[in-house]
Amino acid sequence: MGYESEATTVALSGVIAEADHARTARYADDAGRVLAAAPKSQRQAGHHLRELVKALLLAANPLFAAGNTTKNFNLRQYRLGRWLVAIVALFGSAMPAMAEPGVTDSEIVIGMFAPLSGPLVTYGLDPVQTAQMLYEQVNQKGGIHGRKIRVVVEDDKCQATALVAAVKKLATVDNVFILHGGSCTAAVTAAQEFITREKIPLVMLVAAGDPGVFPPTRYMFGSFGGTQRLYAAALTEFAARQLKSKRLAIIVHDDEYGNASLATAKAVAARYGIEVVAVERVPLNINDLTAPMLNIRAAKPDAILSGAYPAPAVLVAQKYAEYGMTATPLLEMTQGIPTASVFAKNVGNEAALRNFYYSWAQNDVGDEALRQKWTSMYKSRYPDREPGGFMIIGVPSTVAIIAALERAGPNLTRERFVDAMETLEVKHEVMAGPIKFAPGRRDAIRDVNVVKFDGKTQTVMPGIYSWNGMDGN
């Protein structure tokens, strides 16, 4: 809660505590002694505040006077309190904008957070700046129902502790209307308890966020780039339908990401009659993939599914080439390829990418004109920065927020915003499938493209690959 309401609570508590004390002492005398001890200006201010609060309490309960009823009843205070309550009731309904945090007649304040420093900055800086760019475009057109969008940005470093601190600061100090951020699943889901308790909508920026959207909770919306379940389902389906795979090897991390990917891949594989011949679960910070890749090679799969983060994803591809496995298709989930050209350079081996595919929920890869359009738009706003591949993923969550703010109407509250998000279905040129929510659904995207990447050229494979919402859940 905000510090203003805390101050009011303290004042009320002080009055009630003192009133309790008056059960054994005359209230007026005690209050007078307290006031007499304070400096004159504070005595005056304290006196007025106490009189006001007592008046409100008396108006609510005319018999309120701890330890004494008719003897201490103050008719003047009671009448004053009645007027005060009437005035507040009259104007209260006409001031929803002032009562709702982060909303005034002229602006809506959105709190953003993402990794803006450190090794994962590529997941944060470009998407945040894309969102800010889109919000500015809205403001240039006059805002939403006459309100301009103002953004407050914090760096969460992709760490749970820093993210939760940023969220709390945005909510309690900056009093934002909604939260828009989070590029790392483990970090952003750490904020779920707080936002649920405080009833602040959080719309994820880039994070797949599987634990935050499954099971769905009212105030958290996410997975605008797709969930782990979606990537695993899509690539397994691609392996089955296009590659005619019958023996699948899976390598994932031993975290929530990996759990979700593995369960979904296994479920989809079972549905298509694919045997999972090897499962390798590796630590996040592993720097030698010799053992897992040798195990996979020994299992003789006809497709390999990898859910590794960027650094281990490169090591997977390197070892895959070193151990002569390049005849077997390697399918990498989205989070391993923040920028395809950098990935190829880091792998440093053309042979490793002869049979390489990855999942991608956006249309920019297969559509050069679209990619140029958004890149130009971004660079005109940020001329000093060459955007990475995740720039485009800042678009869908921002588009969803803008659409929901429009639908929520001029009498904007957080609950109305959430209701608007819950019934949202938006198609956008950037996305392979629609952004869609529902009362029991908080993951935005369930369709992706599959891209073949040979180190230089990216080719979108025919078809859209989907997750049915059930496999792996």
Binding site: S117, G118, P119, V121, T122, L125, D254, E280, R281, V282, P283, N285, I286, N287, D288, T290, A291, P292, L294, N295, R297, A298, P310, A311, V314, L315, E322, Y323, G324, P338, T339, V342, K345, N346, V347, G348, G388
Partner: protein, 298 residues
Amino acid sequence: MSPIILQAIASGLVTGCVYALVSLSLVIVYKSVDLLNFGGGELVMVGGYLALLVVVRFGFGYLMIFPVVIAVGFAIGALFDRIPLNWIRRGHAPGTVIVPMIVATLGLSYLLKGAVRVIPYTEEPRRLEPLWRGEPLFIGDVVLQWQDVGIVAVTAVIMLGLWLFFRFTLLGKALRAISQNPRAAALVGIPVTTLRMAVWGLSSAIAGIAGVLLAPKLLMTPDMGSIVMMGFASAIIGGFTSLPGCVIGGMIIGVVQNLVGILISPQAIAVTPFFIIMIVLVVRPQGLLGEVIAAKKV
């Protein structure tokens, strides 16, 4: 023996060489000044990023990378000893100087990590071009990259060079004297302060070389300095007072990690070095080739 086991051993030996280099840089400092250098990992990281800078920014190859990394690494280490460590020595009584100096090495670690984050190449994981390119080398069923051969060769050269240096050169003998008895060394005219600076410089240069060799195998991030834990583990296993010991310790960790990953689970790889440490500390606390722990003459 199964081909997969042979491959695991071969790859483990290569990885162990990198651990050995990191460990060497730590042991050189420990042997000379009785100090654990917790900034060693970040010195490895800086070496890798320096090499990347030389290649990407200036377009030079490995012929320039090694001299630049050695020179800059030496300078960083020497300056670290000359300025903060010397200041700490002057400000503290001899018996109370160790803890502040260890804290200073932690500070060095944070300083280097923070400084590297400022450069533009740290936004995404990066990789250096391999030292040697070419078709893989097959030894029976075992496949090795020429980069791996390069790592083993450079490690062997450094080991041989250090052995010759400490055994046959006047400077090396002086450093050995300092490690055995600094006061006596000073009494016979050995410039202890200057040579301490040289020790730190040498240690940092070796760490930088380890970073250059590591960079093509792993991806470079500002957090890659965590490899220092493998260096410490290698030194504990091999013996903190033995240069050959820490090389053997590194090899053991590299091989056993791979075997554990194949025979047990990849998830057990991370804890393997610490299990080995526990066993060594119980069976032979001074390490496999370390000297028996005894009071040092001063």
